[in-house]
């Protein structure tokens, strides 16, 4: 069977939580056993953060080339820009594919004429529904502030909001806040009071042009807002909003998988649009913060974060930067309290003694485990986690301690880490909801399952556990970021046993620490992958630019190579003549000529060597180097050209500069580009004394500064704003990526590239780089 080829086309960052949730739910459902095999590809336009149309032609060309030999069966277009793109370029890119869209607002679909084979799941952001919630929770609300950013997507969402909120404008005073910087938003939101309500949409890009993850901006706002914040997106739950009328991304992803099945099973049938209704979700912590009653919520509203736990009350200690010290001090604090209790208890009944001592021992164990896991960096997380499982298993007299990961829809758990006592067999590594429906149900709600006797459980859970060799089980759900991501299970194989209730929250804490370590590990790997991919891409692009530069310089280079070749020819001819005209006896002269030949050959070789380092394909590579030398060598290269144009280049390097750590070839490329631009600017100018100055200095704050100062005609005010943008060129035949790649290289090295107009005419390009020592400290 030929697998179906499905291309997912995201219009935003595919790593954003909603996209990840959609994607993983869809994939999961598509790859269930017994389904038609699929081959999935993923593409992103990232149109939220990058203005549309900027790279459209290049993207189309790239996709056309990439999929030239692949027959695409379906395109899953996520977001309005994704749908537009998929439809617009259908005939060129995927003429026979079904286009299925996701997350496209109904408001947009109303004005759209789609192909007959295109269908999808629309979204109707229930903004009014969300605001009804706001009114229900706090009837005294008089003013509603709607906050959104300056990006294309931000504005699109806001347009929908304005329309939907019209009907509320009688009751409420509605203000729209946009086109401000994040700092400005923060300042203004701080001035609201508790009788106001905030509807937060998205800030993908603020007025300063800074791009952000909308959820991160929300967290910042929520931290300072005296007024409750509401929002219509599920992914915001747990990040500072009180409540919202939202759609489940998991449900949408799953529904999309069904749609793909349906569409590809009958490729020509047209399928009507799918609508998914919204539901109410609230955050118990936020309700508490604003003194709101859960009873004011609609009866079917799901309340998350209800159960108190250290994890939930202080997620910032665990989720964010993870401060092992803080967490440990809390644990140690707990330990001291326990110790005091032990002392008091001594005087009291000795029955309690065992329990309290057990408790104390367990707290000690917790400190031990958590400090082992929180150690940064964790060189071997697997063995550290296995060790923790062993310790906790032994402490609770269990024979199996297993860590499970749970899929986003809560249907299946997979073993990730395990410990079993000697002689106890390891059970199968997968559990399905059908096998253990009761346990799955409780766990996905976030409840702890503590079973001391299997008879307490209904069928089929009871039989399943018996078959798995369990006599008693403690299963603790692991909640990270508001989601149940896994389960820690402890099993007593041989006998029924009671799980000490006072220890359960602590077991849960250990489980959550482990889950956090795993999440952090996964996150770190992802970040690392993304960084290395970016670096590779930058180097590929940089290489292209270098080759192009050398191409532009080819006439001057040919001249520079021809000179020594011509000299060699002359010397050789002269030697030949001396020999044939009987001067052969004049050996010293011949030796001198041969020496000169060797000198010129070396000179030609040098020119080629200098070029080779620039055009050679290479991996990006970081070393310590002397910036002054690199600048001087690069200027020597440019002088091949500038000499013929009667332009002098003067290099002034401050003595005793610190070393720089970075990629020499890339930094050389930045200097090459800036100096050549300077030479070019001077070449066009009428000035008599054409002097280009290049300065290298060290500043007080451990940075080296390179300035390229020309006396050219300068850059027009209109061009100034765009010179660092890719594909913007003021030169005929210019690629327009020289300065863009320079800025990207400099920023990747922790520096800044800037432009200024000289008071007495011409331009100055300046970049700075941290010194090698400073970089290590960072």
């Amino acid at each position: 069977v030929r697998p179906w080829v499905i291309v997912t086309l995201n219009d935003s960052d595919p790593m954003m939580t909603p996209n990840l949730a959609l994607d993983s739910a869809m994939r999961k459902a598509l790859t269930e056993p017994g389904r038609h095999p699929v081959n999935m590809f993923s593409e992103s336009l990232d149109a939220i953060r990058f203005p549309q149309g900027q790279t459209e032609d290049e993207t189309v060309a790239l996709l056309a080339k990439k999929y030239a030999t692949t027959h695409i069966d379906a395109v899953v277009a996520v977001g309005p820009a994704g749908l537009d793109f998929a439809e617009k370029h259908r005939s060129r890119l995927w003429p026979e594919a079904r286009i299925l869209f996701q997350l496209v607002p109904v408001e947009k679909l109303g004005s759209e004429r789609l192909s007959s084979t295109t269908t999808g799941i629309s979204v109707q952001y229930d903004l009014a529904g969300t605001d009804d919630l706001a009114m229900a929770l706090r009837p005294g609300t008089r003013r509603l502030v709607v906050i959104y950013g300056s990006g294309d997507f931000d504005r699109a969402v806001a347009a929908i909001a304005r329309k939907q909120l019209e009907r509320l404008s009688q009751r409420l005073n509605i203000e729209y806040w946009t086109d401000a910087s994040i700092d400005e938003f923060l300042r203004r939101i701080g001035q609201l009071d508790a009788n106001d309500a905030v509807l937060y949409l998205t800030i993908g890009r603020d007025a300063d042009g800074r791009t952000s993850v909308p959820r991160d901006a929300l967290e910042q706002l929520a931290a300072v807002s005296p007024a409750p914040i509401y929002a219509p997106f599920e992914t915001y739950i747990g990040h500072g909003i009180v409540a919202g009328s939202v759609y489940s991304y998991e449900a949408r992803g799953k529904r999309m998988a069904e749609l793909v099945q349906e569409a590809l099973s009958a490729p020509t049938t047209s399928i009507p649009l799918v609508a998914i209704t919204s539901s109410c979700i609230a955050d118990a912590r936020q309700l508490k913060r604003f003194g709101m009653a859960e009873s004011s919520l609609p009866p079917d509203c799901e309340v998350r974060f209800r159960e108190p736990s250290l994890w939930r009350d202080h997620p910032e200690y665990v989720v964010g930067g993870i401060s092992a010290v803080v967490l440990q001090s809390i644990l140690i604090g707990g330990l001291l309290v326990q110790r005091r209790r032990v002392q008091t208890a001594r005087a009291a009944e000795s029955n309690h003694r065992t329990e309290l001592e057990r408790s104390l021992a367990f707290e000690r164990l917790l400190v031990q485990i958590s400090s082992a896991l929180m150690r940064e960096p964790l060189s071997d997380p697997t063995s550290a986690i296995t060790q923790a499982l062993r310790e906790i298993g032994e402490a609770l007299h269990a024979q199996r301690a297993i860590l499970w990961s749970l899929d986003p829809v809560g249907q299946r758990a997979e073993l990730t880490h395990s410990w079993v006592a000697d002689g106890v067999p390891l059970p199968p590594g997968v559990r399905d909801r059908q096998q253990l429906p009761t346990i799955f149900q409780r766990m996905t709600r976030g409840d702890v399952v503590a079973v001391s006797n299997l008879a307490e459980l209904p069928e089929p859970d009871r039989d399943s556990l018996r078959l798995l060799g369990a006599s008693a089980i403690l299963a603790v759900p692991l909640v990270v970021d508001g989601f149940v991501v896994g389960v820690l299970s402890l099993v007593s194989v041989a006998e029924q046993r009671k799980w000490p209730p006072e220890l359960i929250p602590r077991v849960r804490l250990v489980g959550e620490i482990i889950a956090t370590v795993l999440m952090r590990q996964r996150y770190a790997t992802k970040v690392e992958e993304a960084q290395s991919e970016t670096a590779q891409y930058r180097e590929r692009l940089a290489h292209l630019v270098r080759v192009h530069t050398v191409d532009e310089m080819s006439a001057a280079i040919a001249h520079e190579v021809n000179q020594p070749l011509m000299a060699i020819e002359n010397y050789a001819l002269a030697a030949n003549r001396r020999i044939s005209s009987g001067h052969a006896a004049d050996a010293p002269k011949l030796k001198e000529l041969l020496g000169k030949i060797a000198g010129q050959a070396a000179r030609a070789g040098d020119v080629l060597k200098r070029l080779r380092s620039i055009v050679k394909k290479r991996e990006s590579d970081a070393n310590d180097f002397d910036l002054g030398t690199v600048v001087q060598e690069t200027v020597n290269l440019v002088e091949i050209e500038s000499r013929l144009k009667d332009i002098r280049v003067e290099v002034v390097v401050e003595p005793g500069l610190s070393l720089i750590h970075g990629d020499v070839v890339q930094i050389q490329q930045v200097v090459l580009n800036l100096v050549r631009n300077g030479v070019e600017a001077m070449d066009e100018s009428e000035s008599i004394d054409k002097l280009l100055k290049v300065e290298v200095q060290e500043s007080g704050d451990h940075r080296l500064i390179v300035r390229v100062i020309d006396r050219g005609k300068g850059i027009t005010a209109a061009d100034r704003a765009h010179i660092f943008e890719p594909f913007y060129s003021t030169k005929e035949g210019g690629l327009g990526i020289g300065l863009a790649i320079c800025r990207s290289i400099v920023e990747a090295h922790g520096g800044k590239l800037s432009y200024a107009v000289n008071p007495d005419g011409g331009s100055t390009f300046e970049f700075n780089l941290p010194t090698a020592e400073e970089k290590i400290e960072q």
Binding site: R577, R578, K596, Q600, D646
Partner: protein, 201 residues
């Protein structure tokens, strides 16, 4: 008169030194200059030889130096060398009197041939120049009457017409003519007219 010298002007040290070596390998003296201005500062018009000149140089290019030399009345023959097939510049320099425009890369013999040709031309110019200088000296030795007769002979008048113009006898004119040929050390009237043509102006 000094030995003919090959002057080499090129801003590339390797190139100018190697040309000098090439020139000295055939036994000719060579002097090198790193720029056109350097050459102008040190060049003595009376020195025999030729100029090997690079086309593209900073500050003053080869063709610009050529213009300057023409304006100064210097007759030094020039061989241009160029790394670029710049036809318009080649035509311009040849029209302005350059001996050759040698393009890099060139064959072994090509540059030396052009240098030899330039030296031959310089020698020829200088011989002519020397003969006319001597002739001009000798002219000053003529008496006033002989000078009058000389001027009219050069104008192409016959002895009869000269006699009439000066109101002297035909016989006297003949005597003056033979004295003039003797004093100017020429064998015939046509030779005398030819040399006179070179002196004038």
């Amino acid at each position: 008169m000094s030995e003919p010298t090959v002057f080499i002007v090129d801003d590339d040290e390797g190139v100018r030194d190697s040309i000098a070596e090439l020139v000295s390998s055939i036994g000719l003296p060579a002097i090198t200059f790193a720029s056109a201005l350097d050459f102008l500062d040190n060049y003595d018009c009376d020195r025999a030889g030729c100029l090997v000149l690079d086309v593209r140089m900073a500050h003053m290019s080869g063709p610009a130096l050529q213009e300057k030399l023409v304006a100064m009345g210097a007759t030094l023959p020039i061989v241009f060398i160029s790394g670029h097939g710049d036809v318009p510049i080649a035509i311009k320099t040849i029209k302005a009197g350059a001996v050759d425009f040698v393009q890099k890369p060139y064959h072994d013999q090509q540059l030396l041939d052009s240098i030899n040709e330039a030296l031959r031309r310089d020698a020829a110019i200088r011989v002519t120049k020397t003969r006319s200088d001597v002739f001009g000296q000798r002219l000053t030795m003529l008496s006033e009457r002989e000078r009058e007769v000389f001027d009219l002979v050069v104008k192409g008048l016959s002895s009869k017409a000269i006699a009439k113009a000066l109101a002297i006898s035909h016989r006297t004119v003949e005597v003056h003519r033979s004295h003039i040929l003797e004093k100017l050390e020429v064998r015939s009237v046509p030779e005398m007219i030819h040399l006179a043509g070179q002196v004038h102006e």
